[in-house]
Symmetry: C2
Subunit: 286 residues, 2 copies
Amino acid sequence: MSVSASPAPLLGDRLCENGFECVKILRATNDAHGGVIVDLKEAMDSEVFATLLRSSLLHWKKQGKDGVWIKLPIELVNLVETAVKEGFWYHHAEPNYLMLVYWIPKTGCTIPPNASHCVGVGAIVLNDKKEVLVVQEKRGGFHGIGVWKIPTGVVDAGEEIFEAAIREVKEETGIDTEFVEVLAFRHTHNSFFGKSDLSFVCMLRPLSSDIKKQDLEIEAAQWMPFEEFADQPFNQMHEPFKYMIELCLAKMENVYDGFSPRPVSSYFVEELNCLYLNSHDLDKTS
Amino acid sequence: MSVSASPAPLLGDRLCENGFECVKILRATNDAHGGVIVDLKEAMDSEVFATLLRSSLLHWKKQGKDGVWIKLPIELVNLVETAVKEGFWYHHAEPNYLMLVYWIPKTGCTIPPNASHCVGVGAIVLNDKKEVLVVQEKRGGFHGIGVWKIPTGVVDAGEEIFEAAIREVKEETGIDTEFVEVLAFRHTHNSFFGKSDLSFVCMLRPLSSDIKKQDLEIEAAQWMPFEEFADQPFNQMHEPFKYMIELCLAKMENVYDGFSPRPVSSYFVEELNCLYLNSHDLDKTS
């Protein structure tokens, strides 16, 4: 949520209009969508907070504001109940804070939903001898079923997909790689507290060969001949894994184009970001 | 988080071992990773909750449990402060509940992060006359800058990318479509409370032509000749939009393959889900 630079009353400010009224309200900044954000940092008694919140809501209503966001650090957990009693509800939470929201107008609430997806990567690292880099994990769904799988992991907020793939391979196996392409991605639902998952199947080229496996999560790691990897009954029995084998084969025969990242600047976001597209096809046309 | 069927003590259960001990603990179910989940529904005094929580934590520690999850509906907001005082922190929140977590072992916490991404779609709907379906929005970043843009929207948790693209076009313009391909996707960061965005640029084929625009969000909608759409200074000035134009051209010349969805069944998730891949290339090999 971007925050405009327009001035806003401070906590403890007394709003005095025509000498008639003096009320303390909460410090807030305007957001870019007609609402206000309160980023509370000071410890406060919950009754003091309740009084301030009521005055503030009246003031923002008069100003014609719509959405009201209150960010409460976990240290201010004593104020959560008060906010909810005043009509706020939860928007999202991170380990160290809770974000509450309130919608002032009588008309339809346009507060956006919170994050909906977890994002993961699977990394196919294939060397010149047609061997695949595979691991066995110490925990999780693959543990104890004897399957040799490709390194997988979570893409963190703020991290690029290609960076996550390279990082996971390095962490789990010690192998350095360069990114080739996203071969496919899978969309699954209801996987974690009702959220959805997007998992990107990536191809990488190894830049080193000596495996140094990570001890915490990885039971074993090795270079496995592609045929042996493909022939594992698990990979033959489960559709997404069968597709992964087909994609590998097509890629080895050089007849498959996935998506590769291009850095682009954005109109709405300051940082450079990535557009993933079929570079091979696009370059043919230009 | 999947929940195993193993029995667990109920709220109000007294744990009696060898006739020596009787303590009430919270009702919990085991998760699949060695932890427990408390899905609290009953209203409760916060001091009663504190006592129950302490006994429960001792019990789960003795059992060798690791992660403890407590789901508190917003109606039980009076218990949030107690949980935090006992060492719990926030995991995630939805409008109607807050999920708190605690890690019993002294060793590294492996509680997974919450959802990290918002997911969006942009829908390029191109008809046989080489006209693009475009809209002007009543609010948001494109409002008031005179740009005719493609319909865009949010992919909800649980919704397929191709479904979201078809739905957004229908909602904003009344046009029925069928999905063709994902042409590209863009990954941006720090866009909303530190989360990242994945936005899928999709191509769709129109199945109807009469526009009925939605009034709430859409100022205007029309079929615009492709050249006119492409020549808008905004599209020429901003890299991701320039790429979108290039992708359209390549697609019109039939020299670009994106990713299309294939339904697959999954080993870990019961429902059918979708794998998006370059079907054109893959079908050539098989």
